[in-house]
């Protein structure tokens, strides 16, 4: 996704996006499958398991997004929250 020519919409066409997804998924599969050839020597055993990096990365992101979303319900305020406050004073 790093290189993009200047022509308009080349990158945002649905064909391109579909292709990018296919390439992306192929690369993802490749990084996991490559582990059968290149051994990952984990520090603590568990991190050397097959596909551990993939699962760990995905799950940690999932947890972080969900936690952030949950905290968002408590912490999010309108963007004029503070400036509105100051005007009252």
């Amino acid at each position: 996704m790093n290189d993009r020519p200047k022509e308009e919409h080349w990158l945002v066409r649905s064909d391109t996006i579909r292709l990018l997804w296919k390439v992306f998924i192929a690369v993802l599969a490749l990084t996991v499958l490559a582990q059968s050839v290149i051994g990952v020597k984990g520090y603590f055993g568990v991190d050397g398991w097959f596909g551990f990096g993939a699962a760990f990365g995905f799950l940690s992101c999932l947890i972080m997004v969900v936690v952030a979303k949950g905290l968002g319900f408590v912490l999010k305020r309108d963007e004029n929250y503070y400036s509105g406050q100051n005007q009252d004073d």
Binding site: G57, M64, V67
Partner: protein
């Protein structure tokens, strides 16, 4: 050997001259001074270079060591790139303040004693506040005041700690200590405030995004990283720092995920990245300290680059929120590519500087068998890719088409971004270039096939998570509450209550005081005032007249009493 002048003086002189000169000469000063500073930095030998005595203390304004030179080098490099980025767009006083700020950072780097250290520390607080104010908006003014209050408060805490340590040890030397008593705790807290540690991380994310597009580039580099240097010099291996660091890492990720303002996302990720370094300093082994120093070096480059990229967008469009941006890759390809390189570097993608430095910290955690810390750092690496590595470029340069078609960045901004992009890749591809300058010998190999594969899996699947979870991350026109709510709202309310209460008390008192004054006036008039009442009858005790004889007698008695007292 010739007495070296402190490299910080060169930048201070440049800051003064920026205001006095115009045109080409000013440009020459802006670009030349940091390079000259670099030369002087590398002339400084190890050990104390200059020293003099002040109030009985040995002041060592210039002390060299590989660690100090490494940090001073990156500060000077940052001043150069920031100057290049800003010199055609920023106002002269912003540049002057930024150079004085950089001078403070270089000064702290070489401070051999706590007094010099403290002076440069406050110097930075002063001029960084001015850089925040140069944002020019009412928001920037208010944020600048909050920023100044926080830093001067931190300065006082630091000062209390320094005084305590000086009194108890009798030495002002900068040397490693542990937070074991009141004074050392005060020093640690004072430094951690500048590192944007909890619970006051909010000063950073409050102030930096309010500065001008050029100002935030300078701000991103100096304050937190001098705090990292100070921690490496004063508190290596202080265990509490491990947990402070982990908290900062997670805090940065969660808040950045909630944020809408592009530069505030980057500000949260400063807290996150500094968290990695603080954690490493807490681990405290040679590998960990090398990792913290290397990561600080790499971080200043890629974070500066990210702020440059965001700054160019704001400079061209006047907009900085994810909800208003998008699709800018069409007309700002160079800014987008440089932003993406910075984003990959901060995520620690293989072949970028983040990979070769951050993995040293993970390695240090693994070497010390800190299993939970190691896995939390790995999860955080995934989280960095999520909140900064993809989120920032995605929402600014891609996502939907915002319809904006701004020109790409001006040539000088582009030149600075290209310079830093190349440095990100250079350190990523040839890490030995940086490893050679680290404080301790490095036997670390950054690239092993298994490790690269592990991180590729980790990062790419984080990418997958990002795109699958996009619906959960829809941008909203919101801010997120932080601990600064306590002083921006609660403290404000408390102050209002006190103010109202005082006003009520004052009003009630006013009547009483007036009655009392009238009564007192009558009383005074009665006893001290007029000699006689209207009926000429003598009244006031103190208004009575004495005869000359009685007065002379009393004087004689007093003098006799005095003489007797004198001879006794």
């Amino acid at each position: 050997m010739i007495e070296l002048i402190s490299p910080s003086y060169i930048l201070i002189a440049a800051a003064i001259l920026i205001g006095l000169t115009r045109g080409l000469l000013r440009t020459a000063i802006i670009l030349g001074a940091p390079l000259l500073t670099l030369v002087v930095i590398w002339l400084i030998p190890d050990g104390v270079v200059t020293t003099f005595s002040f109030l009985g203390y040995q002041i060592e304004p210039l002390e060299g060591s590989p660690l100090r030179r490494l940090f001073a080098t990156i500060f000077a490099l940052m001043a150069f790139a920031g100057g290049l980025y800003a010199f055609r767009q920023a106002r002269w006083y912003e540049l002057a303040a930024a150079y004085a700020y950089a001078a403070g950072a270089v000064g702290v780097s070489f401070a051999g004693d706590l007094i010099t250290f403290f002076l440069y520390w406050e110097f930075m607080a002063l001029f960084s506040t001015i850089v925040v104010w140069c944002g020019g908006t009412s928001g920037a003014r208010a944020a600048g005041i909050r920023y100044a209050v926080m830093h001067f408060l931190g300065g006082i805490i630091l000062k209390v700690g320094i005084l305590g340590v000086v009194i108890s040890t009798g030495s002002v030397d900068v040397r490693p200590m542990l937070a074991s008593d009141f004074s050392t705790w005060m020093i640690l807290i004072g430094i951690l405030i500048n590192a944007a540690a909890p619970p006051v991380s909010a000063w950073l994310t409050d102030a930096y995004p309010e500065a001008s597009p050029t100002g935030s580039v300078f701000l991103s580099a100096f304050t937190t990283k001098t705090a990292v240097l100070a921690l490496i010099m004063l508190f290596p291996g202080e265990p509490i720092l491990i947990y402070v660091g982990i908290y900062m890492v997670m805090y940065g990720i969660i808040y950045a995920l909630l944020e809408n303002d592009a530069r505030r996302i980057l500000a949260y990720s400063i807290v996150n990245q500094v968290g990695f370094m603080v954690c490493a300093i807490g681990i405290g082994t040679q590998m960990a300290l090398n990792g913290a120093a290397a990561h600080a070096f790499a971080h200043i480059i890629y974070k500066g680059l990210l702020f440059m990229s965001a700054g160019a967008v704001i400079y061209r469009t006047g907009k900085g929120k994810c909800t208003e941006l998008g699709g800018l890759f069409r007309t700002m390809p160079l800014t987008a590519v440089c932003g993406i390189i910075g984003a990959l570097a901060i995520s620690g993608f293989p072949l970028t500087s983040g990979f070769t430095t951050k993995t040293m910290i993970s390695q240090a955690a693994a070497d010390q068998n800190l299993v939970p810390i190691y896995f939390l750092l790995a999860a955080a690496s995934a989280g960095v890719f999520l909140h900064a590595g993809i989120k920032f470029p995605w929402f600014v340069f891609f996502q939907r088409d915002s319809g904006l078609r701004p020109k790409d960045a001006p040539w000088n901004m582009s030149a600075a971004m290209i310079l830093f992009s190349l440095l990100c890749l250079l350190i990523g591809i040839f890490p030995q270039l940086l490893y050679d300058f680290l404080p301790y010998p490095v036997e670390y190999k950054a690239y092993k096939a298994g490790k690269v594969l592990f991180y590729l899996q980790l990062l790419l699947f984080s990418g997958l998570a990002f795109f699958l979870l996009l619906p959960l991350m829809r941008r909203t026109l919101t801010i997120s509450l932080d601990t600064d709510w306590l002083w921006r709202i609660v403290l404000n309310k408390v102050a209002n209550v006190i103010y109202v209460a005082l006003a009520v008390i004052g009003k009630a008192m006013e009547v009483r005081v007036r009655t009392a004054l009238v009564a007192f006036g009558e009383f005074a008039g009665l006893h001290f005032g007029s000699k006689q009442k209207e009926d000429r009858e003598q009244q006031g005790i103190f208004a009575l007249t004495w005869s000359i004889g009685a007065t002379a007698l009393w004087v004689a008695i007093l003098l006799t009493g005095f003489m007797v007292a004198y001879f006794i």
